[in-house]
Symmetry: C2
Subunit: 196 residues, 2 copies
């Protein structure tokens, strides 16, 4: 397009690679960035620069932090006997937001998927097997409730043999309405009903 200079084209092209931004919203984002140079473009560039310089992948658990081992692995108040296995750093963040877990994490880096060619070798399974031998009492498999996530959980359960392995409960989401739930969730919630 003649009207857009190559610098803007390139910016749009890279913005469009971000998840959640298609070509149209990438164009809108580029325009907003160019209009708000001092309040958005410059600070975002600086934040990207700083993140690129400062953020490491934790060699122990796979979390992203400014140090390796990360703040969670280094925190003496967190129980080293509890290990929660997640697919992705985003899942670790979600559990930390919930503030429900006081042990340590292990980030697999994905879930098994024959379709996408994700084999056990492409996940951090070896690291997990080394860690569970170091004084871990319980492994919590916090995979997504997807086919890939559950396949991964079953695969890991077989590998972990006679360890205490648990998984997250299925059920009605808090605030959820029964009428809008799928049959699988409803049936899981019904089977796992608890006495009041």
């Amino acid at each position: 397009m003649a009207a857009i200079g190559s610098e803007i084209e390139r910016l749009i092209q890279f913005l469009a690679k971000l998840p959640g931004l298609g070509p149209r919203s990438a164009r809108r984002a580029a325009l907003v960035l160019l209009k708000k140079r001092d309040t958005l473009l410059e600070p975002l560039t600086a934040a990207l620069r700083e993140a690129a310089d400062a953020i490491l992948t934790c060699e122990v658990c796979g979390n992203l932090d400014t140090a390796s081992p990360c703040a969670i692995c280094n925190d003496p108040r967190r129980d080293p006997h509890l290990l929660c296995v997640v697919e992705d750093v985003a899942d670790l963040w979600a559990l930390e937001r919930a503030g429900v877990f006081r042990g340590r994490y292990h980030v697999l880096g994905g879930a098994l998927s024959a379709l996408d060619g994700v084999t056990p070798e492409r996940l951090n399974v070896t690291g997990l097997l080394v860690r569970v031998k170091q004084d871990v009492d319980e492994v919590i498999l916090a995979m997504n409730a997807t086919v890939e996530g559950q396949t991964t959980a079953h695969y890991l359960m077989d590998l972990l043999g006679d360890m205490k392995v648990t998984r997250l409960a299925h059920g009605v989401p808090v605030g959820g309405e029964l009428d809008y739930l799928d049959e699988g969730t409803l049936s899981a919630a019904f089977k796992a009903r608890r006495s009041l």
Copy 2:
């Protein structure tokens, strides 16, 4: 959140200010950026840097380009007697993608809106009035078909007095199905029907 370092927090915060990205998708975008450093984070940072350094607002028409006057204003093949007034640079890009217009543009920088406090003084109306006196035969008002856009078009039509002023046609969008169109569009398309 303890699990996210302040560098990542800051990155997420600025990403969330982009149109189209909410807090959740900004977190996903930050993770993807940190995972794809060489293929995404570094090139995006460089593209932002280059755009910030190179892109100017054209003093004549308000377009964004590496030069002022911009490539369109400087292009001798474009008809200087035709002036197309748009609300925003994004609209100029859209018309250029359609490749339908071979004159020059004037970017107002918005549309009149009592609700958002956009008065004529906040739009580039003065510049437009100067330009239309310089050998312009026809002013095409290519505002959005919104209340604000049409208010702006009527306001400009009054200001432009006895000049030849046109506006874009209303009608059925190409590929559109009548059943899905609103009554306003259908009625405009019906009234503006043409003989075959």
